[in-house]
């Protein structure tokens, strides 16, 4: 006799339960459009990797690259058009003439002496436009300002206006970032959102050793040790404290001027705590450390680095594993 009868449950009930429970019917079915998004992401990262993981015949066909070249040309043309229009309009207002423009490539920094004795340090991949009344920053820049009470020093990012008297502070908003960040080393600065009117808008004051994040929804001010680390890049240090690897890699990409990619989403979301001395450590050394911590390794092809989960396969010679030399005792004893 079937033993489950006393509780009123039979095989059919059990299987019904399994279907719901192990079958996870609580997760609703996905619409085609959602699935298409997942597939697109898979296919795109696949194409990126395709350059060296796929056999010759499966590489990206030449017309794909022509299309992307065309897109780049179109963007460049558009930018030039905007700049030209901007220039002609600015020339009608001699007070706003662009005095100077500065650009840094990824992996480069630049120190500039400004008129009036102030100093500016440009971070990697940054553009700065200096006009007679304000400085517009796209990217990251550090300022040490000598006070001139009659000429307030004004810095713009895409969404923020920073007004200063005499202080040292860092401003950051890259093109792909929704919020800008202002970190103050010494002195005080006043902030307002870009769209707000200068007189009516409430200014937020940020003091020394504090840091403000400005998004469209408002200003968040932080103090303490975290704020100090945001100006460390001027001394060639990158400090990450529980930052997702995705963002660490974005920063390294800019700082070292390389192209770093992560294959795995789990890996990309992993939070890292790591300090990088840019002038002393090569990118390979940094990625080795990251690999040790996160149990990953990287493959390099020119200036493209691909970070993959798991340890690196043992080196082989014609398919035969090469015997490793003895472990370096000196290193393991901390000398």
């Amino acid at each position: 006799m079937f033993p489950g009868c006393c509780t009123g449950m039979d095989d059919r009930d059990i299987i019904h339960h399994l279907t719901n429970r192990l079958g996870r019917s609580d997760i609703p079915p996905y619409a085609d459009a959602e699935v298409a998004r997942f597939v697109e992401r898979a296919v795109q990262s696949g194409v990126v990797l395709g350059r060296w993981t796929l056999p010759r015949g499966a590489r990206t066909p030449w017309w794909e690259s022509v299309r992307s070249v065309r897109r780049v040309l179109a963007t460049t043309a558009l930018t030039m058009l905007v700049v030209t229009i901007g220039r002609t309009l600015f020339q009608q207002h001699p007070a706003e003439t662009i005095v100077q423009q500065y650009h840094t490539a990824p992996g480069r920094r630049l120190t500039v002496q400004l008129a009036g004795g102030s100093t500016m340090i440009l971070g990697p991949a940054t553009s700065v436009e200096v006009t007679s009344s304000a400085i517009a920053v796209t990217g990251e820049a550090y300022f040490a300002v000598v006070p001139h009470p009659e000429h307030p020093f004004v810095v713009h990012t895409a969404n923020t206006v920073v007004r200063v008297l005499g202080t040292r502070f860092s401003v950051r908003q890259y093109v792909d970032e929704a919020q800008s960040r202002v970190a103050v080393d010494a002195g005080r600065v006043g902030l307002r959102l870009r769209g707000a009117h200068a007189d009516t808008a409430a200014q937020t004051v940020v003091s020394a050793r504090m840091c403000a994040q400005i998004s469209d929804s408002g200003v968040t001010v932080m103090s303490g040790t975290a704020a100090g680390t945001y100006t460390d890049w001027t001394r060639g240090m990158l400090v990450f404290n529980k930052v997702p690897l995705r963002e660490v890699v974005a920063e390294l990409t800019r700082t070292y001027g390389a192209d770093i990619r992560i294959v795995d989403t789990t890996l990309a979301n992993r939070r890292m705590r790591i300090d990088v001395a840019v002038s002393e450590e090569s990118l390979s050394q940094v990625l080795d450390v990251i690999g040790d911590v996160a149990n990953a390794h990287y493959v390099r092809d020119g200036h493209v680095y691909v970070v993959t989960p798991g340890r690196a396969p043992l080196p082989t010679h014609h398919g035969i594993p090469v015997r490793q030399p003895f472990p370096q005792l000196e290193q393991s004893y901390g000398r």
């Binding site: 033993p3 992401r41 007070a95 294959v263 789990t266």
Partner: protein
């Protein structure tokens, strides 16, 4: 005036308007028709699906992203649900499946054109889910979480049944991974026994026995109170 211009020039650009790769959506209708046309045998629905899948894989080998999309559409929900039976949350399951898809596309030349493609997809998902899972405890935790929800949901039913279901959940958690996978595949996602066998990596006969053994354990758990 000048400020608004500066704003214009330095404002963040509008959301990236990259075109969808090669018009995946538009090609679907015709592609599915062509593939259906290639498939002559329409007697058995399941076998028919297998043949469609295989036809799609042949196109994927030729680098057709649209075929890949079409193939995944048919299995995506089931794959996420199956992955969720390992990793617990829906988000984690989506991550697992996303990684699997990326790898499948990268290594698309290794996709099989014989047997059941569905079994292959589930195998890949199971392997990756097991890689992601460091500890079986995570499974236990996810099941616990679920049983709390479920017990709230099933408050209406009588006490004896509720107890029995709770015991059932407790036993499902303790089942060996292979038995649990087999149950999830067979009864959760409705795979055929032969496909279950392919995913778990055993013969069809052994898979049948595995399922019987798992069910016997569950039956005993339901009845244990009264014996």
């Amino acid at each position: 005036m000048a400020e608004s211009l500066l704003q214009l020039y330095f404002s963040t650009p509008a959301a990236d308007e990259t075109p969808r790769p090669a018009g995946i959506a538009s090609r679907h209708a015709t592609l599915l028709d062509t593939v259906r046309h290639d498939v002559h045998h329409v007697h058995d629905d399941a076998v028919d699906m297998d043949r469609i899948d295989i036809a799609l894989v042949q196109r994927i080998h030729a680098g057709d992203a649209g075929a890949f999309d079409l193939l995944i559409r048919g299995h995506f929900t089931a794959l996420v649900r199956f992955a969720a039976s390992f990793v617990g949350t829906r988000d984690a399951a989506e991550d697992v499946v996303q990684d699997v898809l990326t790898r499948l596309w990268m290594r698309r030349h290794h996709m099989p054109t014989t047997g059941s493609v569905r079994a292959f997809l589930f195998t890949a998902t199971r392997n990756h889910a097991l890689n992601v899972l460091k500890h079986n405890r995570v499974v236990a935790r996810s099941m616990e979480m679920l049983s709390r929800e479920q017990s709230i949901a099933s408050r209406g039913s009588d006490e004896a049944t509720r107890d029995a279901l709770a015991r059932l959940d407790a036993v499902i958690v303790t089942l060996p991974e292979r038995q649990r996978s087999a149950l999830a595949l067979r009864y959760g996602q409705g795979l055929r026994v032969a496909e279950v066998a392919a995913v778990v990596g055993i013969s069809t006969k052994a898979a049948e026995q595995l399922l019987v053994r798992a069910l016997r354990t569950l039956r005993a758990a339901v009845a244990s109170e009264h014996s």
